[in-house]
């Protein structure tokens, strides 16, 4: 159930509802630092820790992008800055 959050404009998009709609789809996540991930969102919790699968991790530096792949991860939400539902990654 959604916690009450004061006056709400019914025509706005609630942020956590946007994340919820993305479950089962690809999501591109940018961390506070220079790391980005693309994976399929399996779920998240109230702290926006996320469970992702078929993940590609991009570490961006002046030397270029280092890419790793991971089957299934729990991503700690502490360092997430930006999320792009349906995003395909930094190469698009």
């Amino acid at each position: 159930a959604m916690a009450s959050s004061g006056p709400q404009n019914p025509s706005q998009i609630m942020p956590l509802e946007l994340v919820d709609k993305c479950i089962g789809s690809k999501i591109h996540i940018k961390m506070k630092g220079d790391k980005e991930l693309v994976g399929t969102l399996l779920g998240f919790d109230p702290y926006v820790n996320m469970v992702l699968e078929d993940v590609v991790v991009y570490e961006i530096s002046s030397q270029g992008k280092k890419v790793t792949r991971l089957e299934q991860i729990l991503l700690n939400g502490n360092n997430i800055a930006l999320m792009i539902p349906g995003g395909e990654g930094p190469d698009n």
Binding site: G6, V19, H28, M31, N79, L82
Partner: protein
């Protein structure tokens, strides 16, 4: 309860404020007042800066009391890989995005930010 780095113990709950404060029945009045009223910025372009140096701008389409934001037509401002405090002037359009409240450091109207001459350089 535990207080994660990001904010309150649950979304929509109190933001880790005074312990043993008013009971829930009375907390409605002081409930979650952010010092910025984002309803004034709804459907308008805003600029967002994040902890860690990322910057973007977009049309504000939604928000919650923890300052999670939904931005449409989001532009990301790319930084110099050698010096992450410098913007290259390049941008990327990334569409509909969610900005995480715990990482948001600054919000302002997109048209009120402008570069100025460095005021700290001694003028001869």
């Amino acid at each position: 309860g535990p207080n994660p780095g990001g904010g309150g113990a649950k979304p929509g709950g109190k933001p880790g404020g005074k312990p043993g404060g008013k009971g829930d029945a009375q907390s409605e009045k002081k409930h979650k007042e952010t010092i910025i009223d984002l309803s004034k910025h709804m459907d308008k372009p805003i600029r967002v800066k994040f902890a860690g140096g990322r910057e973007c701008s977009g049309i504000l389409k939604g928000y919650d009391p923890l300052l999670n934001l939904v931005l449409d037509a989001t532009t990301e401002y790319l930084r110099d890989p050698e010096d992450s405090s410098k913007l290259t002037g390049e941008t990327r359009q990334i569409g509909l995005t969610l900005c995480r409240g715990p990482a948001v450091m600054l919000i302002c109207p997109a048209d009120t930010l402008e570069p100025i001459a460095n005021p700290f350089v001694p003028q001869d």
